[in-house]
Amino acid sequence: MSAFIRRCVGVLLVLLGVMLLIFIVLRIIPGNPAAVLLSEHANKETIERLTASMNLDKALPEQFLLYLSGALRGDLGQSYYLKRPVLDLVLEAFPFTVKLTIFSAAFAWIFGIAVGVISAVYQNRLPDYLFRGISLLGVSVPVFMVALFLQYLFYFKFSLLPLLYDGSAVSMILPAIALGWNSAGSVARLTRSSLIEQNNELYLDTAKAKGLTAKAALLKHGLKNAMLPVITMLALQLSSMLSGAVITESVFGIAGIGKLALSAVETRDMPLLQGTVLFSAFIISLGNIISDLINTCIDPRLRV
């Protein structure tokens, strides 16, 4: 339990670091956001007034402390461009990202683990070569390529699925595959290598001496052991998906965290960008803790 508390304290420190870092980076970028926000023809006084109201005229440490105290109270500031609280915007976008994540994680895990297991069982035989080729494509083809190719194939060529996300589950299929494609590839490769490694473990000999065939021994005894590193990877992937998929969400027009972050960059909306980055960091740290907890549940050696 004390280990868990240590992890939580660690997460808080990470979040503080992320806040500081993003704060500094955004302040280094030249140009006054107030000037960008107003039109080119705004006069000096208007700009100065806006600068003051945005606290941009204060010293940097003071600005940071103001931001920090706001964040602790759950106030991540006001979006310059959309004129609404950042927290509301992030929480509105999050359900879309969650939906995309659930679909693509389901695809990546089912497909990735199945391919990895089949590859490992038929090691160095035809199915293995075939699936290894596929999973290599999985890890090496970039997301936007996969997304455009899927749109071309399933919308323009065969018109089976909608081009963009329209709120229906069917229109979520292509974005899910596009986002899950890389994850599926790496899950498949890790599952395969981890399962093959189990072949050297002595307990598989015990299982065979007990009367299980080599295949049954590998699937009944090897798979559970082989899953430990895979689960760590899955949790990391899950949290990175949850923190927003900029490319996939943009290509398919999904109003998730990634799209929000992208529009924040485009409009130089500092509070919104800070908010989305902070939120992503929070989700990824949470994912790490959760993966540790799952591994503790599965592996009896990690239980205290």
């Binding site: 002595l202 307990y203 015990t206 065979k208 001496a209 009367g211 005894h221 592996d299 050696r301």
Partner: protein, 354 residues
């Protein structure tokens, strides 16, 4: 040896793929396991004793293949089966039920993710020995008790890492015994344990053999293990049986220089502690071209003949055979052995031609 045989290993040759060549590591050995007896195979690391054990229940590493020989399993009904020719499914049906095995490393031989109880119970399920889960659990607990695990009902739910090495080896023995096998293959069962635990485990194996009228094949490098447990011993060196005899006979009258070397390597109280006796040299790198005695490089008594001709297995008495020109030259050559050995070397050549 009596006629009541359980397992008869004839001319077993096992080769390991090394690059493109098949390197024989067990070369045409003959071993007979009678019913209700404990048979020992003793030799240094790398002599092929573990490979011999693992070839019986087909758990050889992927690079190793049985290239010649047979392993005849004698049923009580008189029916005979050659285990070498069995398909994977058929041999697995026997594993756990007819043949059981315990291993050198009790630390890593159990699945770390499963409770020991469910691992033992799995065997009952595989062989459909007990379909009722409640009764199966009761049987497992009973067996854990029989192998001397305290509080067996509590330990049933323990994970391997929660037990000591000796306890885990007892769990392995319980797992081996629950299918009531006819033959227990024990591959260096005490090597990884401390001395007091060793003695307890050996005693337990003996007790189990007696109470379940089971035979055992004890693979070891430890002469002490042999003397305290085995009825009959095979001394193995570089994949060849060098000497075989009743245990008593072997210890009283060791004939092969290698056997004598092994016996004199046991430190005795009162010896000069500065000098431990050893057999000089290491196990040599094997060469197919070399036709002489495999031991002659390290032998203190070698004669010229040893370098050119491998000795046949000489019969010293009904219960004692030795493969040494010096020790056995007054005695009869065992014909069958000699011919089968030739056949073995031919098959190896045949294997190479493939």
């Amino acid at each position: 040896m009596s006629e009541d045989k359980l397992l008869e290993i004839n001319n077993l040759t096992v080769s390991i793929k090394e690059g493109k060549e098949m390197l024989p590591v067990v070369r045409g050995i003959n071993i007979t396991v009678p019913r209700n007896k404990i048979i020992g195979i003793v030799g240094e690391s790398g002599c092929g004793k573990s490979i011999t054990a693992k070839s019986i229940n087909h758990i050889l590493p992927p690079a190793a293949k049985i290239t010649a020989g047979s392993m005849i399993w004698h049923e009580a009904s008189g029916q005979q089966t050659d285990l070498v020719t069995l398909k994977e499914k058929e041999i697995r049906k026997r594993c756990g039920k007819d043949l059981a095995m315990i291993f050198q490393e009790p630390m890593s031989s159990l699945n770390p993710m499963m409770t020991i109880g469910s691992q033992i119970k799995e065997l009952l399920k595989i062989h459909k020995l007990e379909n009722n889960p409640q009764k199966a659990k009761a049987r497992v607990i009973e067996m854990l008790d029989a192998v001397g695990i305290p509080e067996p009902a509590l330990r049933y739910k323990a994970y391997p890492h929660e037990l000591s090495g000796g306890m885990r080896q007892r769990v392995m023995i319980a797992m081996a015994m629950i299918g009531q096998p006819k033959l227990l293959i024990a591959d260096e069962p005490t090597t990884a344990l401390d001395v007091t635990t060793q003695a307890q485990i050996l005693k337990l194996i003996r007790k189990m053999c007696e109470s379940y009228s089971m035979s055992a094949l004890m693979i070891t490098h430890n002469m002490g293990v042999v003397s305290s447990t085995c009825d009959y011993v095979y001394v193995m060196y570089l994949g060849t049986i060098m000497e075989e005899a009743l245990t008593q006979e072997l210890f009283n009258n060791p004939l092969h220089p290698y056997t004598r070397g092994l016996l004199s390597s046991i430190p005795k109280l009162g010896d000069n502690p500065e000098f431990l006796k050893t057999i000089p040299g290491n196990i040599p790198v094997d060469s197919k071209k070399f036709k002489g005695c495999k031991f002659c490089m390290r032998c203190s008594d070698d004669i010229k003949k040893c370098f050119f001709e491998e000795a046949p297995l000489y019969k010293v008495s009904e219960n004692h055979y030795v493969r040494c020109h010096l020790a056995g030259s007054d005695n009869k050559i065992v014909n069958s052995e000699d011919t089968s050995n030739k056949a073995g070397s031919e098959t190896v050549k045949g294997g190479k031609n493939k």
